[in-house]
Amino acid sequence: MAVTQALELETTGTPAIPGWRQLLRRAGSFLAVLLALGLLWEGYKVIGQAVIGVVPLPVRPDDNSMPHVWTIVGTLFEPARRGGEEILLIILMRAALFTWREAAAGFVIGSLFGFALGAVLGRFVLFERSLMPYIVASQTVPLLAIAPMVVIWAGRLGWPAWWSVSIISAYLTFFPVTINTLRGLRSPNPTAVELMRSYAASEMQILWKLRLPSALPYIFTALKVSATASVIGAIVGELPSGIPDGLGRILLNFAQYFSTGPERLYAAVFGAAVLGIVFAALVALAERLSLPEARRLE
């Protein structure tokens, strides 16, 4: 009793909201935003059709450029090809799962490489000064130019096509992880480092017991960005690889038929977005499980 009382008097933490009630609330706000976006879309169409010709509009509000929300949702439940049996939703989900496998492999490779690079740069300032411009430059080179090269090189080495997709995906993934690892490893304040020095701790001990734990919140922030980037990398990588099973080919196909069936391209774009969100949410879940709330960067 005395102990609990002291606890209430002396602790300064905020009362914890039960984790999954918070999760439910988050899901609720996500759906609310989705609904608002749908209303905005339909509202633009209604108002746009009333003022067309009078007010210049960026996008034509007709059903060919902007199909109704219910048309887009409806097309998910229709067969994707004439005479086909499977509805578009199933096809999209299978393709998304395929693309996700490539992206996940790329994400893991890219994150590990990004972390190792960040750790090396953090340890040797000379490397940071000399390599950083090239690391930044690597991200300004258009992915569309690099992707075919990677596919051809990987093909010559006899690697399976999806490996090259994962490598392209890793190329987009490593950068945020490197930058944030570097920042995170340098985040402990000088006193925290001096404390270690007063124990005559070795560099390795300072790294493992201080710098790495301090860097974790930064690294998780990077991983959430990288998760979505890895999906983009995989989709772009699928195009020159000629892989027919992923979202890349589907997006390409539907883009060619945009004028006759725009709703299917929108549906596929929506599918790709959902994949990115789900992947990022998985990383966020891993963060929840490994970091207490007070240590998360939001």
């Binding site: 002291a6 300064t12 925290a192 007063s198």
Partner: protein, 262 residues
């Protein structure tokens, strides 16, 4: 008796040979005996923290010698002779109270059983046994600083170096912590070097007060505090306590006057 800490002709210059060169300390001589409680007192910029960090080998002197337990300060640091407490508790957020106290023991490769025994003893010493599984952010400022003291003493260093450890606490907590520190000091017989800019704090805690002045930092006086031990709450109401405070204040002011006329 051989001194624990012996500082001879020490000077410290920051940014030597550059435009923003600062003479932080000049010609410091000081000896500290085993079991003493010595405060370094002075206005900000007088180099008291710099002197503490020189003793702890977190920085090295530009000139002169710092000997600790009969060896150079760098060797003393490698021999883990120092426990450090800073103004900020500097607890590691991802570790519980227990694991924070264990940090130095892990670094020093203590066996697991010994780590646990020491941690328990230390948490009992600072009266925080009930909070062993708490995280730092769940504790008040005073409790965090008690954990920092427990952590500093966990590996039984012969010297405790404290850099304004109670500077961030409110007055009431501060007085409680001072009592607690004196109790710990009398129980552990550790030599304490304590940096502060509070005159009553220095007088209440110390066996000797080293008064310092700024630009360049140097020692202007060393005052023995012969108040009866152990100190208690009543000590603060003792006439001798006020006499000593006046003596320290005079020493600080005398130097100010001299500085102004120079």
């Amino acid at each position: 008796m051989a001194p624990v800490i012996s500082i001879t002709d020490v000077s410290k210059v920051f940014n030597q040979g550059k435009e923003n060169r600062v003479a932080a300390l000049e010609n410091i001589n000081l000896e500290i005996q085993p079991g003493e409680f010595v405060s370094l007192l002075g206005p900000s910029g007088c180099g008291k923290s710099t002197l503490l960090r020189l003793i702890g080998d977190l920085i090295s002197p530009s000139m002169g010698k710092v000997f600790v337990n009969g060896k150079g300060a760098p060797q003393a640091r490698l021999d883990r002779d120092y426990g450090m407490v800073f103004q900020q508790a500097t607890l590691y957020d991802w570790r519980t109270v227990t694991r924070n106290v264990q940090l130095p023991l892990e670094v020093m490769n203590y066996p697991k059983e010994k780590r646990e025994v020491r941690t328990k003893d230390m948490l009992r010493l600072v009266q925080l046994e009930a909070f062993d599984r708490h995280y730092p952010w769940q504790l008040s400022g005073g409790m965090q600083q008690r954990v920092a003291i427990a952590r500093a003493l966990a590996f039984e260093p012969s010297i405790l170096l404290m850099d304004e450890p109670f500077g961030a606490l409110d007055e009431m907590t501060r007085e409680r912590m001072q009592m607690e520190l004196l109790r710990i000091w009398s129980q552990t017989k550790t030599t304490v070097v304590f940096v502060t800019h509070s005159i009553p704090e220095a007088v209440f805690l110390s066996t000797r007060v080293v008064v310092m002045s700024a630009r360049p930092g140097r020692i202007t006086g060393i005052i023995d505090i012969d108040l009866p031990q152990p100190r208690a709450f009543e000590t603060r109401e003792h006439p001798r306590f006020f006499e000593k405070i006046t003596e320290v204040r005079e020493c600080l002011r005398h130097d100010e006057v001299r500085g102004a006329s120079a």
